[in-house]
């Protein structure tokens, strides 16, 4: 946590103030405006298409948050995060479909929230299981073990075994009305958006708070210098596993949220590509920054949508572009190109640019 910029002549008189999130009235106003935009202006004035893009961004934020925690804050490189999101999705869907819940829980709309929390725990524990090798291996070798998580979970366990349950073919579809929170059935893009924005705010807040308390400091210490951390009393194996648990928990929440948007789950949504995609999100947004997750997710999803629309527009002249699967090639190559360009021209990501711009205006019109 770095210090907030204070206007000239303003000083804090207590540590409580210095620990606050919103330290000046300017920041307070800015954040209130952001809350109004996110909770009122966007859902009221945007159409269904824009809202669907917005909750896709939200889903990407939730999924990439765990990747950011592991890679950006704890230094444990992971390439298997889609597996944990998948575990969350499937846990949530199966709990809703196959558990004989008492009727009052259904009518009170508690089944989906309960399944969401259970999905978090299931994905967290699954993640800890694959985080266990981190006690012994580092860096490149850990990448291999997390990739193993991906290959074992999605193509093997989920596709070959879990998907067969109930003889539904390869995906579970959820009957309308099963996903409801309290009195609200999540059945329109607007409601999905509200669910997304609440979850994203809660998860980002929780993560930001964790990072400035004991646990988060231990994670960052492990990332920066694990030997020094250990001599200062940090049980590094334990804290790595806690990091895997929290990352998995958030992935589970993300997965559980995603079934509310899709109304079905299928292994195709959790392929290895998505694990890479989320690592790309934090590389572009900025490693080791929560702003980076948000900016990266916005960048990736918006670029994807722009590409899609561009391709549709070009379809009139070049019909072969509209063939099924062609878009994926374009998207993948654009994604690769974006990562290369970012690594060369802005290795610190969009969040660093944002920070520079903010600093520039804080000091404006002086240069330092």
């Amino acid at each position: 946590m770095s210090t907030t910029w204070l206007p000239c002549g303003t000083y804090h008189q207590s540590y409580v103030k210095d620990h606050g999130w919103w330290q000046t009235s300017f920041v307070y106003g800015k954040m209130t405006l952001l809350v109004i935009v996110l909770f009122i202006i966007i859902p009221v004035f945007c159409g269904d298409y824009l809202l669907s893009i917005a909750y896709k961004i939200g889903y990407t934020i939730l999924a990439a948050l765990g990747v950011q925690l592991l890679i950006g804050y704890c230094g444990q490189i992971t390439l298997g995060h889609a597996a944990f999101v998948a575990v969350g999705s499937y846990t949530s869907a199966m709990l809703i479909l196959y558990v004989p819940w008492p009727n009052f829980l259904f009518s009170a709309g508690l089944v989906y929230p309960i399944s969401m929390i259970a999905a978090g725990f299931a994905a967290g524990l699954w993640s800890v299981l694959f985080g266990l090798p981190s006690a012994r291996v580092k860096g490149f070798y850990l990448i291999m073990t997390t990739m193993a998580a991906q290959w074992i979970t999605v193509p093997l366990v989920i596709t070959q075994y879990v998907s067969r349950i109930g003889g539904r073919g390869h995906y579970f579809s959820l009957p309308p009305g099963t996903i409801s929170i309290g009195p609200w059935a999540i059945d329109s893009d607007r409601k999905i958006y509200y669910l997304m924005i609440v979850l994203v705010c809660l998860c980002l807040l929780a993560m930001a708070n964790l990072l400035r308390s004991r646990v988060g400091r231990a994670w960052i210490a492990i990332r920066d210098n694990d030997i020094a951390a250990e001599t200062l009393g940090v049980n590094i194996v334990w804290y790595k596993l806690v990091a895997f648990f929290v990352a998995g928990f958030i992935a589970g929440i993300a997965g559980s949220f995603w079934i509310s948007a899709l109304y079905f789950v299928s292994p195709e949504h959790f392929e290895f590509f998505y694990s890479l995609w989320w690592v790309g999100v934090i590389l572009i947004g900025g490693v080791g920054s929560l702003h980076g997750v948000v900016f990266g997710a916005m960048f990736m999803v918006l670029v994807e949508e722009i590409l899609r629309n561009g391709l549709v527009a070009m379809g009139g002249w070049m019909p072969e572009l509209m063939l099924v699967g062609k878009f994926d090639y374009f998207r993948d190559s654009a994604f690769g190109l974006a990562i290369i360009l970012f690594l060369i021209y802005e290795p610190n990501g969009i969040s660093y640019r944002y920070w520079q711009i903010k600093n520039y205006f804080n000091l404006w019109p002086f240069s330092y």
Partner: protein, 273 residues
């Protein structure tokens, strides 16, 4: 072996007993015994490659000696992990600065107090009640006891990786002190510092050793003989895994073996400014 005064068993904080540490066939430590008494500054000197840092790593738990016992406050700690030794009140700095470069100075020092913090993920994620009270309480301690002592008020919010070397060393000392250690292992705290910084650092070491508030026992590894002879109560000389002597600084300066192995024949005080 030279021993000037009798050691009272209750005073001994740390005791190494016949420590052997081999890397392959190379003996880094071959039967080293050492007793550190409470409240003293005990220096370990010796030529490069003598095994001083290996010895510190053994005490600290980063290495596990193949033979011999390490006792801390009368308890055998051979099988205890480094983080548990920190909980026993052992803290250290490193020869090559090992600060957490991405964290601010304040966060580095807060991390040093890790064992005194209690909050976990559940309360930490909401930062209310317990966690908040605890953060404020420890912040007060850090500001008043450590940042004030080490005179690093102006850099408390700076990322440590951006600081010059001398200040990083100071932050590292602050981080080690934040643990409120009983035994502080200082592995070359003066290496690479300029004269002024050396004087500051020596003053800090003396302060934490002598002030009633701290009373920290220090185990010091250092090459600056002027400082070593001035600060330490006892000097332990190591030469390629073997102990040459353990005694007062005055004894070390006249011990012919020590002079031959390490100090050299010329004027001892040639290095002093």
């Amino acid at each position: 072996m030279v021993k000037t005064n009798e050691i009272n068993a209750g005073d001994i904080l740390l005791e190494l007993e016949d420590i052997h540490m081999y890397f392959g066939k190379v003996a880094a430590l071959a039967g080293v015994s050492l007793q550190v008494r409470k409240g003293e500054i005990h220096s370990v000197i010796g030529p490069n490659g003598a095994g001083k840092t290996v010895m510190m790593n053994c005490i600290n738990g980063l290495y596990r000696p193949q033979r011999g016992n390490i006792h801390y406050r009368g308890q055998r700690i051979n099988d205890i992990k480094p983080y548990q030794r920190a909980e026993l009140g052992m803290s250290r700095t490193f020869q090559k600065v090992e600060v957490f470069g991405g964290m601010t100075v304040l966060d580095n020092i807060r991390l040093g107090r890790h064992i005194h913090f209690k909050s976990g993920i559940a309360s930490g994620s909401w930062y209310l009640g317990k966690t908040k009270r605890e953060e404020i309480k420890h912040r007060t301690f850090i500001e008043e006891e450590i940042i004030d002592l080490l005179e690093i008020e102006h850099i408390r919010h700076t990322p440590t990786g951006m600081l010059p070397y001398g200040l990083q060393k100071r932050v590292e000392l602050g981080r080690a002190l934040a643990l409120e250690p009983e035994l502080l292992i200082l592995d070359e705290p003066l290496a690479g510092l300029n004269l002024e910084e050396v004087e500051d650092m020596a003053r800090f070491i003396l302060d934490v050793n002598e002030e009633e508030r701290w009373k920290v026992t220090c185990l010091l590894v250092e090459h600056d003989m002027g400082v070593v002879m001035d600060l330490s109560h006892r000097v332990f000389v190591l030469n390629f895994g073997y102990m040459i002597m353990d005694g007062t600084p005055e004894e070390a300066q006249i011990n012919p073996e020590v002079i031959k192995a390490y100090l050299g024949e010329e004027d001892l005080y040639a290095t002093r400014g």
